[in-house]
């Protein structure tokens, strides 16, 4: 049963997708609105199962023992030594929970907001969940690759079909797909290279065997194959240009998943595959990784300052925030082979920070994208210049946005703080100058959150003429006055706000997971 848990988490969404596809309306004699209501409930119900199992996993994972647990291994294509090898360690357990949580919230929120092509939407959303879960549990390179690509296709459809016309959804969707695919095929060659050198596709085994050990040229080449794939997904500057388009064009729940989980796949790949398999190559390229991380932080933050579209601003903020993750991973890579006292602790701390930042960014930016959805559904615009003075009209919305925004800029006491603290605490000991430069990003982040978002949307004088009309989501009526958040929007956001506060005050439960994994990883390199 324990071995089955990960398979269930991964494939229950697939079963759900099949269930959604079935012609319930024809079987039951329902009209289409009745059928759509049923599909919404069905999808939500199905998505609750992986969430529940992810909670079980969270508590059942034995942190004291560490290592890979709930391992399943069965031959898949024995001719090539490809196996169905699943397992989770301290790094993946929280990310699985994050994926399940954001999927459920996304489905719940979409159940109220998605009005067209309902069946397709929930079908694709569940397939997407399967792909993401698969990446986090796969311990075989080919299996990892399969899930990696499986997650790509539904997101392409989500952006293309439910994107707003003015955001060029067709262009954004194909751009997203081609960028990711270009990286993936490079990874495919690297996977083959690993296999021909070590004779295994198994991630754990390959990490023990160290592919191309002693041949730095080939190791660097293979490392580059993986790095490009992951760097595009994270995204690390200069591979980030797909992100603002895709995030802006995607429907609200799609953006939440994109920013909340898909970006983490790239960072997860760096920590799970790139570092442990190619420590020497990683060490060699660490200065570049650190530099790219810092550039991402600062570049992303400054570009945010220049945005006039709220959703695009938040999209670029992901480039900046994921830069901290890159900096943490790069600093850890930089520490490989150094033998200064305390360096392993610093490296593990940087890695902890990166992992924490992954989780917290998922919660916070997921929340921010939901909040963009809230205002967009009402105002039908995201232009920052057309808002102002909304704090008095939408006090509830203002409150939630304040908490999420402050969490995003790293206010102590909220979740966003810890990731940044750990990354910089670790990085200062390893790459001092770069870390110091990176701190500028925190200042600029505070500026764009406070000035661009809080100030221009909520403060100042409310001008009823700036927005043509406000839609009242409760009954679809149109008026000149905005109406505050509805129950379903509150229900969507509260879990995220609770986690922002909970892990802001007391990050230990989640830090325990990451710390064990980081120490184990740094100890093995």
């Amino acid at each position: 049963m324990a071995g089955l848990l990960l398979s269930l988490i991964t494939f229950i969404p697939l079963i759900g997708a099949v269930l959604v596809l079935l012609p319930w309306g024809r079987w039951q004699g329902w009209d289409s609105s009745r059928e759509e209501a049923f599909i919404r409930r069905l999808a939500l119900l199905v998505s609750l199962v992986p969430l529940l199992l992810a909670v079980v996993l969270w508590f059942a994972y034995d942190k004291a023992t560490g290592g890979f647990q709930f391992v399943t291994q069965a031959p898949w294509i024995p001719a090539m030594g490809i196996s169905y090898h699943l397992g989770v360690d301290g790094l993946s357990v929280p990310l699985i929970f994050l994926t399940a949580l954001l999927t459920t919230l996304g489905i719940y929120y979409s159940a109220f907001t998605i009005k067209t092509r309902v069946r397709e939407f929930f079908l694709l959303f569940l397939l997407l969940e399967m792909g993401m879960m698969g990446v986090f549990v796969a311990l075989d390179l080919v299996l990892f690759y399969v899930f990696w690509e499986v997650g790509l296709v539904p997101m392409y459809f989500l952006i293309g079909i439910w994107g707003q016309e003015k955001d060029r959804p067709h262009y954004s969707a194909i751009k997203f797909f081609l960028y990711t695919l270009a990286g993936s095929v490079a990874m495919l060659l690297a996977i083959l290279g690993v296999y021909f050198d070590t004779g295994t596709f198994d991630i754990v085994r390959a990490a023990e065997l160290r592919p191309f050990a002693g041949n730095l040229t080939l190791a660097s080449l293979a490392f580059a194959g993986f790095f490009v794939a992951f760097a595009i997904k994270v995204p690390i500057w200069p591979f980030h240009t797909w992100l603002p388009d895709a995030h802006t064009a995607a429907p609200t729940a799609g953006s939440v998943i994109l920013a909340g989980v898909l970006l983490k796949l790239g960072a997860y790949g760096l920590i799970r595959i790139a570092l442990p398999l190619f420590p020497e190559a990683a060490k060699q390229w660490a200065p570049l990784i650190v530099a790219l991380g810092v550039i991402s932080i600062i570049y992303g933050a400054f570009v945010c300052m220049a945005q006039t579209d709220l959703k695009r601003l938040i999209a670029y903020s992901s480039v900046s925030h994921m830069g901290y993750v890159t900096l943490g991973v790069g600093a850890a890579a930089f520490a490989i082979g150094l033998s200064r006292p305390g360096i392993v602790d610093s490296a593990a701390m940087a890695l902890n920070g990166a992992a924490l930042q992954m989780f917290n960014h998922g919660i916070i930016t997921g929340g921010l994208f939901f909040l963009v959805g809230v205002i967009y559904e009402r105002a039908h615009t995201r232009d920052l210049d057309r808002f102002g003075g909304l704090s008095a009209r939408l006090p509830y919305y203002y409150g939630i946005m304040m908490v999420t925004g402050f969490a995003s800029l790293g206010l102590p006491g909220l979740a966003g703080f810890w990731g940044e603290l750990f990354v910089f605490r670790g990085a200062f000991d390893i790459v001092r100058v770069w870390a110091a430069i990176g701190v500028i990003g925190i200042v600029v982040t505070a500026a764009y959150i406070l000035w661009r978002i809080i100030q221009s949307v909520f403060l100042g004088q409310y001008d009823p003429h700036k927005v043509d009309h406000w839609t009242n989501l409760a009954d679809g009526s149109v008026s000149h006055e905005p109406a505050d958040m509805l129950t379903f929007e509150k229900v969507t956001l509260w879990p995220l706000v609770i986690f922002m506060i909970l892990f802001g005050i007391y990050p230990t439960p989640i830090l325990d997971f990451f710390n064990r994994a980081s120490m184990a990883l740094m100890g093995s390199l």
């Binding site: 898949w76 294509i77 024995p78 001719a79 090539m80 490809i82 397709e120 080919v142 690759y145 399969v146 690509e149 499986v150 790509l152 296709v153 392409y156 459809f157 293309g160 079909i161 959804p169 067709h170 969707a173 194909i174 797909f177 081609l178 695919l181 270009a182 095929v185 490079a186 495919l188 060659l189 083959l192 290279g193 296999y195 021909f196």
Partner: protein, 494 residues
């Protein structure tokens, strides 16, 4: 070898001949009874094909590897390609059932000729002698010309047949010249004897004729496989031919080109591999996939787009042949065989959807696919699967094929070839997904928003193709084993 045994080994061919004759005869003798039963002749043809397939599978199961009737070898490789041809023809016949009656009255001849073309393939892929190689190729070509021009009142069908014929005649003349060089150098047309003559130095000074002969032979085989620069007939012929025939040309007929390439080069000219034909095929692979993909991007006619796509696919397949230095797991030939098998179902599936849409709307251009997701979720969903498989996205058969072929290239130290191939497969995703964009992102024009229904005759082959496309990617193991067994038998057929 006893006559009985010879006949047993040639049973698939015998059955095909009988089937073709029977279909011709039934159509001739009882035209009035046929009229009300459009499914009778296809059923008869399919029954014959199924019998031939069963005997072929029986021979595979028996591990047959033998020289038959002097000029033929019945071995794993030949049987592999026979299976491909028989499956392809069976599916193509059913794709034509609803396509033909509105376009031509000569339905019976069509099915019979298709079975004859299959017979030609079965003979060609078994050929172990240059004479029979040539005869098999010509046999297949001539039936293909007729089938391409089958819609006599359709100008484009006639034009396609003429272009195909002129190009094919030239290609086969060039190939024949290459064969004559080999005969001149070695004094024999038997592939194994040719290899022996070159190896023992019997060819003497004439051994230098090996390279020109290889180049000239490549023209003939490359023509059938639509490898660049011998591909120019393909877009026009594919566009003008009846769509079921386009499907046939792009799968079974293309596979035959590769089968002959493998047999003649690997058995007849193995000593020229490392220096001559492997690099040549590598270069051709690069040109073919790059050209196919770049030109496919600009196509708006779906048949033409799939034509260029199938040229590009031929380029990927040729990578496997260029990597034949590696054998066994991630061997070049093994990868090629698996790729071809997966490509068969994938490409046929795509054409089945094209046929269904063409039957309903009469159009094959991209705008006709706008809103197909609404008009027929089944067809649109299936086409997405096939296009993803063509693009090499897992978990499909197309992915497994690319995985094996690229792996073979890396294993044979052809890293540059592998890198160009992956860049190409990323480019290709653009135009495959462009079709998806039309089907799913664009609304159907108001004038043609009606539902498109797929008749059972199309739906069954469609489901078979979809199931196999997924099964090859997901189950993988038996297919890899079969491809591996088929690849090692080859030279043992003495």
């Amino acid at each position: 070898m006893t006559t009985g045994r010879t006949l047993l080994y040639l049973l698939p061919e015998v059955l095909l001949l009988a089937t073709a004759t029977a279909v011709f005869a039934l159509d001739l003798v009882r035209p009035r009874q046929m009229a009300g039963r459009p499914h009778f002749l296809p059923l008869a043809a399919t029954a014959g094909l199924a019998l031939a397939l069963l005997t072929t599978i029986g021979l595979i199961g028996g591990g047959v590897s033998a020289r038959v009737a002097t000029m033929m070898s019945v071995d794993g490789l030949a049987l592999f390609f026979k299976v491909i041809a028989l499956l392809a023809t069976g599916l193509v016949i059913w794709s034509a059932v609803d396509y033909l009656p509105t376009r031509t009255p000569y339905v019976g001849e069509f099915y019979a000729l298709l079975v004859v073309a299959t017979l030609a393939i079965c003979v060609a892929v078994s050929a172990n002698d240059l004479i029979l190689v040539y005869l098999g190729m010509e046999f297949l070509s001539i039936t293909s010309y007729v089938l391409t021009g089958f819609l006599r009142r359709d100008m484009r069908s006639t034009e396609a047949a003429l272009k195909y014929f002129l190009y094919g005649a030239a290609a086969s003349a060039v190939m024949l010249y290459g064969m004559s060089l080999l005969y001149g150098a070695t004094g024999t047309t038997d592939l194994i004897a040719i290899a022996g003559a070159f190896a023992s130095g019997m060819a003497g000074n004439l051994g230098m004729l090996g390279l020109p002969a290889i180049v000239l032979l490549t023209v003939g085989f490359g023509f059938k496989a639509s490898l660049a620069p011998f591909h120019q007939w393909a877009p026009d012929a594919y566009e003008g031919a009846p769509t079921p025939i386009t499907a046939f040309l792009s799968t079974a007929s293309k596979a035959t080109g590769f089968a002959l390439l493998v047999r003649v080069f690997a058995i007849g000219l193995p000593m020229f591999r490392a220096q001559e034909w492997a690099p040549l095929l590598g270069a051709i692979a690069i040109v073919t996939m790059t050209l196919g993909n770049l030109v496919a991007i600009q196509q708006t006619n779906l048949k033409r787009l799939l034509a260029y796509s199938s040229i590009a696919q031929a380029g990927y397949i040729a990578i496997g042949l260029a990597s034949m230095a590696s054998t066994g797991l991630f061997g070049g030939l093994e990868g090629t065989l698996l790729y071809l098998f997966a490509y068969l179902f994938t490409n046929l599936g795509a054409f089945l959807v094209v046929i269904a849409v063409e039957n309903a709307t009469g159009a094959v251009d991209l705008p006709a696919y706008a809103g197909l997701a609404r008009r027929s979720p089944l067809l649109a969903g299936m086409l997405v699967l096939f296009l993803l498989s063509l693009a090499g996205i897992p978990p499909t058969g197309g992915f497994l094929g690319k995985f094996l072929v690229f792996g073979a290239a890396i294993r044979s130290q052809l890293l540059a070839l592998a890198i160009i191939a992956i860049v190409n497969s990323a480019i290709a995703a653009f135009y495959y997904l462009n079709i998806v964009r039309y089907m799913f992102f664009m609304p159907a024009p108001a004038a043609q928003a009606s539902e498109i229904a797929a008749p059972t005759a199309l739906r069954v082959p469609l489901w078979i193709c979809a199931a196999m496309t997924l099964a090859i990617g997901l189950v993988a193991q038996p297919f890899i084993e079969w491809a591996t067994r088929s690849a090692v038998l080859l030279a043992a057929a003495l």
